[in-house]
Amino acid sequence: MTNRRDFIRISAYGAGALAMSGGFFQAVKAFSSPEKAVALSVDLTRTATYCEVCFWKCAGWVYKNEEGKIWKIVGNDEDQHCNGRFCPRGTGGIGNYYDEDRLKTPLIRVEDRGKQVFREASWDEAFNYIASRMNTIKEKYGAESIALFTHGSGSSYYTTLMKAFGSGNIAEPSYAQCRGPRDDAFLWTFGEEVYSPEITDIRDTRCLVLIGSHIGENMHNGQIQEMSDAIDKGATIITVDPRYSTAAGKSKYWLPIKPSTDIALLLSWIHELIYNEYYDIKYVEKYCLGFEKLKEHVKDYTPEWAYGITTLAPDLIRKTAREMADAAPAVIVHPGRHVTWYGDDTQRTRAIAILNALLGSWGRRGGFYRPAKATVPGYPAPEFTEPARLWGDLFPGLYGVATGVVSNALIDASIPENNPAYPVKGWIVNGTNLINSIPNQPNTLKAIQNLDLLVAIDTMPVEITGWADVVLPECTYLERYDALRASPHRKPALALRMPATEPLYNSKPGYWIARELAGKLGLDSYFPFTKQEELLDWQLKQIGSSLDEMKKTGVKTFEREADDLYFAPEENVVFPTDSGKIELYSAAFEGLGFDPLPRYVPHEEPPEGFYRLIYGRAPMHTFGRTANNPNLTDLMDENTVWINPKVAKIWGLVNDQYIWLQNQDGVISEFPIRVRITERIRWDAVYMVHGFGHAQKQMQRCYGRGASDTQLMTKVLVDPLMGGTGMRGNFVTFVIENTEKEASS
């Protein structure tokens, strides 16, 4: 009987069945009715967490199976960030825990930087090594010659450590490589940034305008949920993108703009609103400053003018301007998130801010709401001493508008030829893979070779850990406590992250790492609690809650102090700008030597045979954080290059063929990338998803899969206002036969 069954199985599935392990009967036994097992597991204890796979930080519950192993993660119904629904990355977050390629123990480099020869070390030895180098740098150059690059939940502990040590050079690449220009543009216009999660009131909007924002491919959970609600309610979506994005597929109007010309479109929309008197006259009179100057400025920027630049039909520009005005004030011209594109990004997002002001959407239902934030007190600790020098002193006069620390300025200051006012000699890099997150890799690598100390703290052996002197393995977010999440939202709220299980291997939580290192540096007093849960409990008790309560609820939501989610009619709003008004015309920019109103300046165009490299996101990945995640790699394990069929025909390309990309500076992608021929991309550009083409062999699932867009970004269009690194000024051509490298298939 067994033989007969085996025969049937093999004949049905061919050779594949031979590879199955174990006998059939064994297998059935192991299966033992999943329904029963699952039903039992539902009753097992769940632990609270908030997600660390992206910055949205959705709160959820971690469930374990009957063996006590992490089984699944689901959203917390009470959480405003996710409303009980995690995105694919959050759902697949368990793969970050189970990834067998994780960093397992501290490592100390034994050969030249970048050769990736390490020896295993104890935590104590690693901390002694780091503390000794930090002290040497401090004595020789000053404490501020050590910089922290950081992303994610560990940031707060390492920031405390750095400030206690005496350095204020703490940079988040999420500023100058991502959202910085938009935050500054809105700050300098409305006196307030758009926060994270963004304060866009999408659920109640009647018109959502996306400028290159690809909601649905970027999986910013709350935004997607609300966009879906808006679709249900019949809102109009207008998408401006050279690519037919998923959002474009949901849009009433798709504006297939010529890349790099967005400011021309925005100026012509402003022209249309003003010269047709579509704008909110009362709102502008009451709240805005500089309207007449703006009106004069956009006088000639007609849709016909913009047509010649953007290739968008004047009629389409007129119709969409009208559509926005009809929906106003329940309209959102979305500020975007990753906006470092062309080096004029602060001005482009300023134009977006101005459009919103003209439509009267700021502070209005269906536009932008007023956020509210919960706060918990910090435990009394010694004051930090003011650092002798800050990042702004490195290159005096640069980036006058910047309100964040510019990571690339710290990198540039690590290269002696750039003549910084003082050198940056040590980097502590936490949770950000600088090799792939900062464009112009040769520059980053040159900076690294000039360092006296490079410490990388991560959960995975990413590219930057390969260049480090010391590698510290953090445990994943599922194995640790972290600071309470207190992001602004419609209602103030707190969320708890607690460990679902003990850390695997010899990995440790960020709080412990920072505290132990502080101990070696004689800075213990800044970390008064041995265990983070004691601090959390103390903090929660100050506001009438407790750690025990939070463990039960995961999330605690408070009522707003006042009913002020939107401006009241006729409310006398004082905006936190210099003038107290919404500054359409920026006298501050003018004073700093920048255009007080956005101007369109043409950008370089791709040479013959080259195509503009555009990049974006896939819903199942968060860049390097998920690149090797077994669950998410199963959904997408490589990126493809999107090529218009007309272009493919010229080059004789076929679908699924592997080719290399070469940029304008002769850089050829290290790995080949699969061709996807699609009408969804313009003929003058190609598109790929960021975060692939990893060159780190220790990440076995993602090594060499697809191409790295960062590698092809050797030309960086730096925003003179705030130092953002514009990354869309690179052009690529196709290398079909690569004599140096063999194509994989």
């Binding site: 199985r9 039903a39 694919p88 759902t91 679709i231």
Partner: protein, 177 residues
Amino acid sequence: MRYAMAVDTRKCVGCSDCVVACQTENNVPIGYCRDWVVEVMDGTYPQLEIEIRSERCNHCENAPCVRCCPTGASHFAAGGIVLVKPVECIGCGACIASCPYDARYPHPKGYVDKCTFCFHRIKNGLKPACAAVCPTKCIYFGDLDDPNSEVSAVLKMRKSKTLIPEAGTMPQLYFLI
């Protein structure tokens, strides 16, 4: 009772959350899936249209997989849900060949596996994992015999279609268009 599911193609963004939620909920081994996402694009730049669908077993009323199963492992459960009893399945693969939707796969442990509409969850009043997790709320589930169920309501309000209706399988997975 007649369980059915409707997927709103206007809201689905194809993020595959339904896939990974199903995989973790049902311990589907990595490399296999019970549900998946299909994108159908039509037109020439810039006149384009796209339909995105989250697909899975259609739990057909006239299910060829049940008819062709030599051991009775494939069967109808309460509410018309098509299930496989692993202990009775000999892994012959006839059902895989008969399914017009390619909804079944050979589990590495030797039996054929497929979507159960999360039978273990719906028994307890929960939604299937894919419907519970979907960030766009584009998956509606419920009893077609109950006029007040969300799936009945949405199918009444919106135009819908099924896939390959000409196969005569009477599928119970609807797509709102």
